[in-house]
Amino acid sequence: MEQTPCDRRLATIARHLNSPRSEIDGGSSISRLVTSADGGRSSDSVFNHVVRAPEDPILGVTVAYNKDPSPVKLNLGVGAYRTEEGKPLVLNVVKKAEQQLVNDRSRVKEYLPIVGLAEFNKLSAKLIFGADSPAVLENRVATVQCLSGTGSLRIGAEFLARHYHQKVIYIPQPTWGNHPKVFSLSGLSVKTYRYYDPATRGLDFRGLLEDLGSAPSGAIVLLHACAHNPTGVDPSLQQWEQIRKLMRSKRLMPFFDSAYQGFASGSLDEDAQSVRLFVADGSECVVAQSYAKNMGLYGERVGALSIVCKSADIASRVESQLKIVIRPMYSNPPIHGASIVACILRDRQLYHEWTVELKAMADRIIRMRHQLYSALQERGTPGDWSHIIKQIGMFTFTGLNSKQVALMTAEFHIYMTSDGRISMAGLSSATVPHLADAMHAAITHVV
């Protein structure tokens, strides 16, 4: 059968966007290829057999977007906030904090301690656990500055692999693409639990409870504190409480990934409720925090890992062992981003201004959700699209399949991951209609 040019284009894009995800164990698929294009010199190289790694599927979307010359192209791939004008945003409080730092000539750039900036660590723990949290007040939390969420997850996982008795972690299905490798490279074995229900585009709560219920006692469970990535589907508070009870009864270890505190609902306290629920019953847990999105500090790599322990003495020992993990990885964390965070969190005025800017970002995203939902209603697009406004945070799991996504890219220059995830932060009032048109076309033309 002859392919039309359109078919060929679609096929090319589909191949590109459907390129296989990196394996969980990156090394397992490396084959021993010997190339001899250069007259045998390559056989001298000790790395001659190394094959090219597949493109990161998420970052690959931006690569493809950048190559597209179309004036109507839209990047709904990577999860970085954009303004209504489609521009990246540096928060005003961050600019103020940076100016303070620059103007302070007494500041030096010496090494931070291995655990990072002490003030930053204390303030970060207060932020996620609450200033009145007994765990914080009793000094039972070991907090170390790490390289954003990824770094915090990695250090936490390495610590667990060395010191925790049950070296298996259960991750939700689906989850952020980088999670599996972070855990497997740390030495944990990775299993999954049901999370997303494609039929309802909501939580598969029964499946979740079943899978966690049949996990071995003591297993580690990765929980997205709020604004689940990539689905935007969060348990309700009642459901969190049931999860907590189940996990306690099976002595499962909670490992929270908190990448969107304040960014999801607009309220820092509300977005921390799941974490605080677990800490309130007095048990131990691990929490990775990121300031990438909620303070817009993406590239500065600011985050914190906290391990809530039963006693201050244990927390102190745990901290000493965290240092042993960190030192041979990068010695000590970068100073700049943490200094900005500390500057803002310690200052009442700046902290307040931050909460206002944070709410504005969250509100804009919620507005985009409502606008997209309305636009699809207006077009009479078949299907139930209420999940767009039920889901929360930066991402919406549209429910579109990869063929539909491919059409949207080829015909409408919409760039998104092939799992149907769109970054709401990449939308504006001006571009919502275009996206709605694309979705409508994809739904009605491709099954």
């Binding site: 390559s42 001659n48 990161d56 390289l147 980088n178 993406y298 590239g299 000493s320 041979p328």
Partner: protein, 431 residues
């Protein structure tokens, strides 16, 4: 929120769930998951500074940690760095760097190591990624070595920076050592080094300090480097350079890269870890670069993609701020000149302090040889003192240094060199 009080049975013990936060003493009765976690030993180097800070003596001297100090004993932020920061503040956005870091920063950094007009850079044969200072660069390479050469070992000099052992251990690469420091002469044990290179199985990986060896300050001469290069070539070993002090050793970055240039001329495929911690004073910013010289551009692309695969599950992408500083400085000819001037000033001050310390000791009538103080190069001087002598220095004179006798020359000033010399003479004169 209210939680219904419930009691339940877990593993034979009754426990009480619920109540408002803060009143769950029952739960504390359950043992911690971490009760068997041992307190980790303190880092030997960083522990020295901690002890120094707690000492109330007005005479105390810190010649422990390897961070530069000016002649008043104060940490220094280079003028070129302050200017770069002024330009950066408020202007750039803070988006993620690519996984491989700042392309511009890496470009400029490779020029420093390989040479501005290097044919390898022109031919795009260098796979390179921004790394978390020297530590991060070494760790990425160790992980890469483990993944793609799982059968290989790393040969590490004795002594070396202590963290080198930790890095390759955590990367699960088996380690061997090779002779380096010659205690009697306080110099290089060249023949033993060459023997070890010869006896290592072909294709071993060798960790080399490009200049200003840490902790001894003992570097091979140019002639010795050439011989080491030839032998490594004959054995098919892989040379990996840790270059943490380029510019900081002699004051001239080109000169400090000589060992690397010799190996490049001799046709080795090398790896290099570079750091801006000392030579740009960017310690806490964690800026560095890992590079691997490949056979051709195609292989360089491949290797870089795999290095990125190792970085992604560790920290996703490297920090922005330090990279912006480096790029701002190195791509502006005036700022770059200023930097070169400031690096030379730092190196010259240290070289001056070496001369002063040696002179002082000789003038005190010490019968021991202190030539090595001026023969050695870079931030550190391996004094040759024993741990017991070092302990006396600390107890009696409030002088803080690591117990291997390593003196950080950066901590020596015109104000304390006399006191330091006197103390060293006191503890060493009885033999």
């Amino acid at each position: 929120m209210a939680m219904a009080g419930r009691s339940g049975l877990v593993a034979g013990r009754r426990f009480f769930l619920g109540g408002s936060s803060g009143s769950c003493t029952w739960m504390r009765g359950l043992s911690s998951w971490w009760k068997n976690v041992e307190p980790a030993p303190k880092d030997p180097i960083l522990g020295v500074t901690e002890a120094f800070l707690s000492d109330p003596s007005p005479d105390k001297v810190n010649v422990g940690v390897g961070a530069y100090r000016d002649d008043n004993g104060k940490p220094v932020v280079l003028e070129c760095v302050r200017e770069a920061e002024r330009r950066i503040a408020g202007s750039a956005n803070m988006e993620y760097l690519p996984m491989g870091g700042s392309v511009k920063m890496v470009e400029e950094t490779l020029k420093l190591a390989y040479g501005e007009d290097s044919v390898f850079l022109k031919d795009k044969r260098v796979a390179a990624v921004q790394a978390l200072s020297g530590t991060g660069a070494c760790r990425l390479f160790a992980d890469f070595q483990r993944r793609f050469r799982p059968e290989s070992q790393i040969y590490i000099p004795v002594p070396t920076w202590a963290n080198h052992h930790n890095i390759w251990r955590d990367a699960h690469v088996p380690q061997q050592t090779y002779h380096y420091y010659h205690a009697e002469s306080r110099g290089l044990d060249f023949s033993a080094l060459m023997d070890d290179v010869k006896n290592a199985p072909n294709g071993s990986f060798f960790l080399l300090h490009a200049c200003a060896h840490n902790p001894t300050g003992v570097d091979p001469t140019e002639e010795q480097w050439r011989e080491i290069s030839q032998l490594i070539k004959a054995k098919g070993h892989f040379p990996f350079f840790d270059m943490a002090y380029q510019g900081f050793a002699s004051g001239d970055p080109e000169r400090d890269a000589k060992s690397i240039r010799i190996f490049l001329e001799d046709g080795h495929a090398i790896g290099i870890a570079q750091s801006y911690a000392k030579n740009m004073g960017l310690y806490g910013q964690r800026v560095g670069c890992l590079s691997v010289l490949c056979e051709d551009e195609k292989q360089a692309v491949v290797v870089k993609s795999q290095l990125q695969q190792l970085a992604r599950p560790m920290y996703s992408n490297p920090p922005l701020h330090g990279a912006l500083i480096v790029t701002t400085i190195l791509s502006d000819p005036d700022l770059k000149q200023l930097w070169l001037k400031e690096v030379k000033m730092m190196a010259d001050r240290i070289i001056g302090m070496r001369a002063a310390l040696r002179e002082n000791l000789e003038n005190l009538g010490s019968t021991l040889s202190w030539k090595h103080i001026t023969n050695q190069i870079g931030m550190f001087c391996y004094s040759g003192m024993t741990p017991e002598q070092v302990d006396r220095l600390t107890k009696e004179f409030h002088i803080y240094m690591t117990r291997n006798g390593r003196i950080s020359m950066a901590g020596v000033t015109t104000g304390n060199v006399g006191y330091l010399a006197n103390a060293i003479h006191e503890v060493t004169k009885s033999g």
